[in-house]
């Protein structure tokens, strides 16, 4: 694993996209790595699409060029698919399987797209796709709002970034949050377990193996 790594975090406003990106960035900085975090907020709590970038290494900007993200963390399936143009052919993509139906779609009378189709669209570009039930894992850990922490744990479990796991856990524990630190750590541990144990990871409709071109 090279020391440079471009990560895209995508999700829906309110899911904790920016908190997840900040935790990744803080962990990288704590581990002594160079890092830039790219994010825009303002409407991020109001249910719109939110995207953040974390560039680890000696980078001049926080912009990730097209087709070059090494890791994508999608907190919601459609939002993961939305950033397909950012994914490099070697990308590792983590997708939380719980959808959030866009109200614009509801009002137009449309239906949420099929999850398998979304995963296939991602797998056509990326090297590995891991589909996780992070929302359920967060609920099991004690708080649904910790979906982002579960995904961060999964990233650690998969060793998908150059950031050491203890630095990531340290960022979770040190975050400015109203949720009890023990619950946050539990959510991270559940995510790390999902990441480590491929049996717990379902991809592209199969039970045990990740999807992708690997």
């Amino acid at each position: 694993m090279s020391a440079s790594c471009d990560v895209v975090v995508a999700g829906v406003g309110g899911q904790g996209v920016l908190r997840l990106a900040h935790a990744l960035g803080a962990a990288a900085a704590a581990a002594g790595l160079g890092v830039r975090v790219g994010q825009i907020y303002g409407l991020s709590q109001r249910g719109g699409s939110v995207e953040a970038t974390v560039r680890i290494g000696d980078m001049r900007t926080a912009f990730i060029p097209p087709a070059s993200a090494d890791v994508v963390v999608g907190l919601e399936p459609l939002e993961a698919q939305r950033v397909v143009p950012k994914m490099s052919p070697r990308a590792t993509v983590l997708v939380n399987r719980t959808p959030i139906v866009p109200t614009s779609l509801t009002l137009a009378g449309g239906d949420y797209p099929d999850l398998d189709g979304i995963v296939e669209a991602i797998a056509a570009v990326a090297r590995r796709v891991y589909v996780l039930d992070a929302t359920a894992a967060a609920a099991a850990a004690g708080d649904r709002r910790l979906t982002n922490t579960v995904m961060l744990g999964a990233l650690a479990g998969l060793e998908a970034s150059p950031i050491p796991t203890d630095a990531l856990l340290g960022a979770v524990a040190g975050a400015d949050s109203s949720i009890d630190v023990a619950v946050r750590k539990a959510a991270f541990a559940r995510g790390a377990g999902l990441g480590r144990d491929h049996a717990g990871v379902v991809g592209a409709g199969t039970a045990t193996t990740p999807a992708g071109r690997d």
Partner: protein, 596 residues
């Protein structure tokens, strides 16, 4: 904030850190994306007097006063906020400062959260003050600290201009200890601080001489940096554009301007003479390019790089490709045809019902700046104008005066926006006897920018209790006879009060008084659920645009029935009030937290 450590900071946090280190003792501003977190971060320091003011003009007045009182002072605002503060800003360039005074203008190219993308660098030229443009968090801290020194050395306010990507992106910054100088105290000097024409005429040449001295300073400043490279292409650039240039064309020779007003024109001319082709790469307007042209320098810029919207590495690459300097970039794959997901009013938002009512009444609605501007979009689609902070009331008065509509004219304005810029509009309505209704959507917070306190909330930025402005008494005191207060979660009462206020001849005010569901307290009340057998698929509840209401696969007479996501429903009751067959009921399976 710790001492001498390496931390990951946003540009806004880095500016706050600079203020701490530079010994700032007073800071004032008004919330506005992308500037808001500067004062929020600074307020956590504890030792510094940090406050939200009612608007940017007042914030800059406070800052100028504090500076004349002899302490280092910071004022922060978004780009359009400087329009409000411009009256003070222009003449503060004449008075100069006591201790250092730095104004942060956080611009928003691309209009991520703004009504325009004006390029505030022109304000520095207009006022005749120095302008610094950092390119990342590290520079945001260093440049802001330097700005205080420049302010004191040259006796001038200093403008530091960031953009959204500088303000919000995070980078690694090394922090240092806070150093507070001894307070200078206020020195009376009417010829400098009382800008009657006789004194202002004397200050104008002082300002111009100061600019001459500043020009010499900028020529020699290390912030004017000549970065070695292949001289076939030379690029003059500043701010975030500098980073894009270095990423896209790392071999080019670059003149990086950290200070962009006044310009180091001698340095730029000698740079121009040493490169074969000279480009200016800058975001938004040709601020540098025009100045170079005026100085007789042959330069290329906006012919290749866009003037509208944000720059990006990709846009810079395309520009250099169009200029024949770089190979054309590989085509970027089209984004997948996924469903768009625009922002929405939250489940339970107290702004929803008033706009349902206004839509039903068919009023012409002059809107304002805030979350409720989202009511302009489907499905509420009940707003006709939105221009600037506080404009709704004056524009409603003008629409009524025009006689251009038979419909009732209503202004809608949030509590903080009303206190910021709406009060003079209301006085206009009283003074000139306008037949308009003003809806003050009082949700007890500045919701759009993340839930800040304001003069109506009774709490200061530093979390201390203070006397809240009484909106009812305020409206009555300026001469509005018909002032009503209603709970916007009571749909029938909201309809009744708005209808009654519209029927009143002359100006009337309806204040909706339900707090925001997100800030300061996240509201989660008993959620509702749909009794599927009772739902007649009339879909009336869908007109509220609530994100918690979704379709099911069940139908009634061919139309789809609905369901409610009880995890996101906040229990506002609005859909239940709308439901003709009363199919929407309290969720019997819900257990209140802590009571389960």
């Amino acid at each position: 904030m710790t001492v001498d450590t390496r931390v990951l900071l946003s540009g806004n946090e880095a500016i706050a850190q600079a203020a701490v280190e530079a010994g700032v003792q007073v800071a004032a501003g008004y919330p506005g994306t992308p500037s808001t977190e500067i004062l929020e971060t600074l307020a956590r320091h504890g030792e510094i007097d940090v406050r939200w003011s009612p608007n940017e003009k007042v914030a800059l007045d406070v800052a100028l006063g504090a500076s004349l009182g002899g302490v280092r002072t910071l004022a922060t605002m978004k780009h359009v906020g400087l329009n409000v503060a411009a009256d003070t800003f222009m003449t503060a360039a004449y008075t100069g400062v006591g201790a250092g005074l730095v104004l942060i203008s956080a611009d928003d190219p691309g209009m991520h959260s703004s009504q325009n993308e004006q390029d505030n660098r022109f304000y520095a030229r207009l006022a005749g003050v120095p302008l610094l443009e950092p390119s990342d968090s590290l520079e945001a801290k260093e440049f802001t600290k330097l700005a205080f020194e420049i302010s004191e050395e040259f006796d001038t306010p200093v403008l530091v201009r960031t953009t959204t990507r500088i303000s919000h992106n995070r980078g690694v910054v090394t922090t240092e200890a806070r150093r507070v100088r001894e307070t200078l105290g206020f020195s009376r000097d009417p010829s400098k601080y009382v800008m009657i024409p006789a004194y202002a005429r004397r200050r104008r040449p002082v300002l111009l001489e100061r600019l001459e001295e500043l020009t010499t300073y900028v020529e020699e400043s290390p912030l004017t940096a000549d970065i070695a490279g292949d001289s076939t292409v030379g690029v003059v650039t500043s701010g975030i554009a500098y980073r894009y240039v270095r990423e896209v064309i790392p071999g080019a020779r670059v003149l990086k301007l950290g200070i962009t007003h006044p310009l180091p024109m001698d340095r730029i001319k000698s740079f121009a003479a040493e490169v074969d082709r000279l480009f200016v790469v800058e975001e938004l307007d040709p601020f540098l390019e025009d100045a170079l042209r005026a100085a007789g320098i042959d330069v290329e810029g906006k012919a290749f790089f866009p003037r509208a919207g944000e720059l990006s590495p990709d846009a810079v690459r395309k520009g250099f490709a169009a200029a024949g300097v770089l190979e054309a970039p590989a085509p970027v794959p089209e984004p997948p045809a996924t469903v768009v997901r625009p922002p929405l009013l939250c489940p339970g938002c107290p702004h929803t019902a008033p706009f349902l009512v206004l839509k039903r009444i068919g009023a012409v609605v002059a809107g304002d700046i805030g979350c409720y501007t989202l009511a302009a979009l489907e499905p509420l689609a009940a707003m006709d104008t939105c221009v600037a902070m506080g404009s709704s009331i004056g524009m409603a008065v003008g629409l009524a005066a025009s006689g251009g509509t038979e419909k009732p004219v209503v202004a809608t304005i949030g509590d903080s926006t009303f206190l910021h810029g709406g009060i003079p509009g209301l006085i206009e309505a009283v003074y000139n006897e306008a037949d308009v209704t003003v809806l003050i959507l009082d949700n007890g917070t500045v919701a759009m920018t993340g839930g800040q306190e304001h003069p109506g909330t009774g709490v200061t930025l530093q979390g201390e209790d203070t006397r809240p402005v009484d909106l009812v008494a305020l409206c009555r005191s300026v001469g509005v006879d018909d002032v009503r207060v209603v709970d916007p979660h009571d749909l029938a009462a909201t309809y009744r009060e708005i209808e009654g206020a519209i029927a009143h001849k002359g100006p009337s005010v309806v204040i909706t008084n339900r707090p925001c569901v997100v800030a300061p307290t996240k509201v989660k009340d008993h959620p509702f659920t749909v009794v599927a057998e009772a739902c007649t698929a009339c879909q009336l509840c869908m007109t509220a645009g609530c994100p918690s209401i979704v379709w099911t696969d069940e139908t009634f007479e061919g139309r789809r029935k609905v369901a409610i996501d009880t995890t996101t429903c906040t229990g506002c009751t609005l859909c239940a009030q709308l439901c003709p067959p009363r199919a929407i009921v309290l969720d019997p399976e819900w257990e209140a937290p802590g009571r389960g």
